[in-house]
């Protein structure tokens, strides 16, 4: 038989003025199982709590109901107090007499009766409460950062400087990401590489950071604090320890006409290559698709030339499994390509380029050494049209969202062009100018007012080629939709920012949610912007939504702080409000039938398979098991399970049934 104490709080006048607390306390004495029922002015005050603690000891209570304010307010207070008095904290429940009763109803018998009813419900619940214990999860204090752009580098440096180990995984041969391709950055026009390169070097030399370039995450198991991550180290066909980065192999490689990814197809590279001169690590990689040796079985010039004999044609991909405590996703974005625009010629005009190609044209280290030359014939373009919102805010192209960075970089591009070609004419077609940010609008105004870039409010309907010019057919909506035709030498499309290739695949590997555009989903749009729904996995930068550099870096530091916070303890303590699948003695083992219909209902992928084996090792049955590290305690699986094999601690079937029976 239970020994339950009921403590009714007046909350000063807050409850007492509407509910007859004395009467309620009296009524509660008649509830079977209640051995002690008192009221007090302020239960949450020190004397109030002490009174409860003394009663627990004196009356050997095994459960308490505090009838006061909302449990969302003081449940932790009273549970802690109950725990200090020697009973399990989870044997304490609260009846909400204030927010749900005294404050919302008129004074009267009905209200007093309701107060007593509310307590009765909780008394019956407490009778079925089980002592619960916080779940402790050990934490491996090594973080993995996926993506080596400016966001990933910042996360890695911040965590490493916080004293923890970091593995930085980058799929391409060098870290640096898109930022290393940029010429200059808005709104300051400082050189992108000049500010990024030192960070890249710092990351490479940091004792706490392990770089894994030319590597991709293949598999992720486990849960917060205890991930097992398998990384595929793609074969560079090179012994990195021996290679000194002298570059002789690159000079001698006979295959020099390969379209260069780093220069967005505007330049060429060799089959053995370093993506760009400042690459980190500065070790080449052999491009298997284009290497003459892999195509024909002959060549091996690089091997012959290498002074340290570092080339390894027989090198294979390597799978490495690592123990990781937290993961930060910083995989960035990609730009829509110009071939996605039927009305602009499906990408067939060489002089219609995208924003990243313009960056390479404008970059001092780019294919034209920063001299403005249009791709088709190398002539200096006299008229350049920039088109903002190319593919963005365009539901017909499947991108209804704003790409956020284009307004700023288009202004920058127009400005850079005008700085390089003083006599040139720059036109920008735009729909709205979104320049919200420190010094951003001033920057756009400068482009318009000082550099005399002509802004035309309207979209471009068609571009075609005629007599070596690109005919841009637009309209000026500020002149009532009057058609505007501009004969341009080059057109720059500020194409939409899209989620990176294979981002959905990666999200599935990591069990994080993503939106319909493939961007990773944050746990809460306002209050948990750097966390994912999967505990222990965080986000930084444009893999979540279009972002510019300052935002990416800020979010990266935010994610790093989350990781450092997580790593500040050896163990992670979690509320024991989790679901469990029952286990019984053989031969039943469980009422779970292993249909796994619950699996789809779990928002956290917390439901695993557990094989019940005979002594011989033969699998007798496969049952569901809930990983307490992943379960967040929503109980959706519980309501899905036909055989009631799953129950939710703290809100169990028996507890709820008992509550219902009092009604």
């Amino acid at each position: 038989m239970s020994r339950i104490g009921v403590f009714t709080c007046h909350c000063g006048e807050n409850i007492g003025a509407t509910v007859d607390c004395v009467k309620v306390a009296e009524m509660c004495k008649d509830i079977p199982g209640v051995v002690h029922s008192v009221e007090y002015k302020y239960m949450c005050s020190d004397p109030g709590q002490r009174q409860m603690q003394e009663a627990i000891k004196e009356h050997q209570l095994d459960g308490v109901v505090v009838a006061a304010c909302s449990p969302r307010m003081h449940e932790p207070t009273f549970r802690r107090a109950a725990g200090d008095a020697g009973i399990n904290p989870y044997m304490c429940e609260m009846a909400n007499l204030r927010e749900h009763c005294s404050w919302v109803h008129e004074k009267g018998d009905a209200t007093t009766q309701k107060a007593a009813d509310l307590i009765r419900v909780l008394v019956e619940k407490v009778k079925h409460n089980e002592p619960l214990h916080p779940i402790k999860v050990p934490v491996t204090r090594t973080a993995m950062v996926i993506g080596g752009g400016v966001g990933g580098i910042q996360v890695a440096l911040d965590i490493a400087n916080g004293g923890h180990k970091v593995v930085l995984v980058e799929k391409s041969p060098s870290i640096g990401g898109h930022m290393s391709q940029l010429s200059e950055t808005f709104p300051t026009l400082d050189c992108s590489q000049c500010i990024l390169t030192p960070r890249m070097v710092e990351a490479a030399q940091h004792p706490n950071i392990t770089l894994m370039t030319y590597s991709e995450v293949e598999k992720v198991d486990g849960f917060i604090g205890n991930f097992k991550v398998t990384v595929r180290k793609k074969a560079r066909k090179l012994d990195e320890k021996l290679c000194t980065g002298c570059g002789l192999c690159i000079q001698k490689c006979p295959n020099k006409k390969i379209s260069d990814e780093f220069n967005e197809g505007l330049g060429t590279r060799t089959a053995i290559y370093v993506p760009f001169p400042q690459a980190v690590p500065n070790k080449p990689v052999i491009d298997l698709q284009n290497c003459t040796y892999y195509k024909t079985g002959k060549c091996k010039v690089c091997e012959k030339m290498c002074p340290t004999n570092a080339i390894r044609f027989d090198q294979e991909d390597e799978l490495v499994t690592l123990d990781i405590g937290a993961i930060v996703l910083a995989t960035g974005f990609k730009l829509m390509k110009t071939d996605a625009f039927p009305e602009y010629g499906y990408g067939k005009h060489k002089d219609i380029i995208d924003g990243m190609q313009f960056e390479r044209l404008a970059s001092a280290s780019g294919p034209t050494s920063g001299v403005m030359k249009r791709p088709s014939d190398g002539k200096e373009p006299e008229t350049v049209v920039f088109i903002a919102c190319s593919g963005s805010r365009d539901r017909a192209k499947g991108v209804p969202y704003c790409s956020k960075i284009c307004c700023m970089y288009t202004a920058k591009h127009a400005m850079l062009y005008k700085h390089k070609v003083h006599s040139g004419k720059a036109y920008v077609f735009y729909m709205d100018i979104r320049a919200a940010g420190k010094d951003y609008d001033e920057f756009v105004r400068r482009a318009i007012e000082e550099d005399e870039v002509k802004y035309i409010r309207g979209r471009v309907s068609k571009i075609y080629e005629e007599d070596g010019k690109l005919i841009v057919m637009g309209a000026d909506t500020l002149m009532g939709g009057e058609p505007v035709v501009i004969k341009a030498d080059m057109v720059v499309l500020a194409t939409a920012v899209q989620s990176n290739d294979r981002s959905e695949e990666l999200a599935q590997t990591l069990h994080v949610s993503y939106d319909s555009y493939g961007f990773f989903a944050e746990a809460h749009p306002k209050l948990r912007p750097v966390e994912t729904n999967t505990a222990g996995i965080f986000l930084a930068g444009a893999c979540q939504a279009p972002r510019d550099i300052p935002e990416t870096v800020a979010q990266a530091s935010g994610a790093a702080a989350k990781v450092v916070g997580l790593f500040s303890n050896d163990e992670l303590t979690r509320e024991p409000i989790v679901a469990v699948v029952n286990r019984q003695a053989a031969p039943v083992y469980s009422t779970c039938v292993g249909c796994f219909l619950c699996q789809g209902a779990c928002p956290y992928q917390a439901i695993e398979q557990e094989e019940i084996k005979a002594r011989s090792g033969e699998v007798i049955m496969t049952l569901a098991r809930i990983n307490p590290g992943l379960c967040q305690g929503c109980g959706t699986c519980v309501a899905t399970c036909r055989t009631k094999a799953i129950d939710l601690q703290g809100f169990s079937n028996e507890q709820i049934y008992a509550e219902l029976m009092t009604l």
């Binding site: 039938v593 796994f596 219909l597 036909r642 079937n653």
Partner: protein
């Protein structure tokens, strides 16, 4: 029939299977399930319009699984049930030889993928008779439906024939038998019967293969199958999913679309 029996014999003779599950003559027009354990017994198997029972109900039984590999003469509803059981991991690929019989055509299948492909070629859903019955129910006023079901259910004595005949009711411990807490009263009275049939329907919603076995099994003639049919049809209509159509589990109640219609929610 010839072809099926021939193949069954062959499989038995080669020792590839331990038994063939099919239909044999019972009293009068009744056809009863029959296990032929030896090639010689195969000739007792019959296949005609009187063969109605969904044989899938047997294949998850411990006693049958113990036999080893079994061949099942599977009419369309049985095929659907087997596929759903596979999706729900109650049967594995290769555990059964499915002799899928559709009219004159016979096809031998042994995996969920093959079964899915086979079933995809066929129109699924209710036949005209059942559709008409559902439409009749639909045409009643709410009050008339209540009276109708109260009348029907008043005969229910909770013999559980509907449950026991259902291929999808394979749970080792049925909710009805749970007593901590006892969600559904054991006794067969007004509220107990309503709750039992409500729970049975909800448990089969999204899983019912619409064989109608429960209705045929009811000794007092309650059309209980109309409840699960209505739920299943409404699921198909609202979510486009159908039980017993996919090899990979596609359970309507553990999937969702963010734009599921919610006009009924205030």
């Amino acid at each position: 029939m010839e072809a099926v029996n021939q193949r069954a014999k062959e499989l038995l003779e080669k020792g590839e299977i331990k038994a063939v599950l099919g239909y044999a003559k019972g009293t009068g027009h009744v056809r009863r399930p029959h296990f032929a354990r030896k090639a010689g017994q195969v000739d007792q198997l019959v296949l005609d319009a009187a063969c109605l029972q969904n044989l899938a109900v047997y294949v998850t039984k411990h006693e049958v699984k113990k036999l080893g590999k079994v061949a099942v003469i599977a009419l369309p509803a049985t095929q659907r049930a087997i596929l759903q059981l596979m999706a729900e991991r109650q049967l594995r690929d290769g555990e059964l030889v499915i002799l899928a019989v559709d009219g004159e055509a016979v096809k031998e299948l042994d995996s969920a993928a093959a079964l899915e492909e086979h079933l995809a070629l066929k129109a699924q859903g209710l036949d005209a008779k059942d559709k008409a019955l559902l439409a009749e129910l639909d045409a009643m006023s709410r009050e008339q439906r209540w009276v109708y079901w109260q009348n029907e259910l008043s005969r229910c004595m909770k013999c559980y024939a509907c449950r026991n005949s259902c291929p999808m009711c394979y749970c080792g411990t049925c909710t009805m038998d749970c007593n901590r807490p006892q969600w559904v009263p054991v006794a067969s009275h007004g509220i107990g019967n309503l709750e039992y049939h409500a729970v049975r329907t909800m448990h089969l919603a999204g899983r019912c293969v619409e064989c109608g076995e429960c209705g045929r099994a009811c000794p007092v003639g309650i059309p209980v199958h109309l409840l699960t049919f209505a739920a299943e049809e409404s699921i198909h209509e609202q979510f486009g999913q159908r039980a017993g159509a996919k090899a990979k589990l596609d359970y309507a109640l553990s999937t969702f679309k963010t734009d599921d219609k919610e006009s009924f929610i205030r």
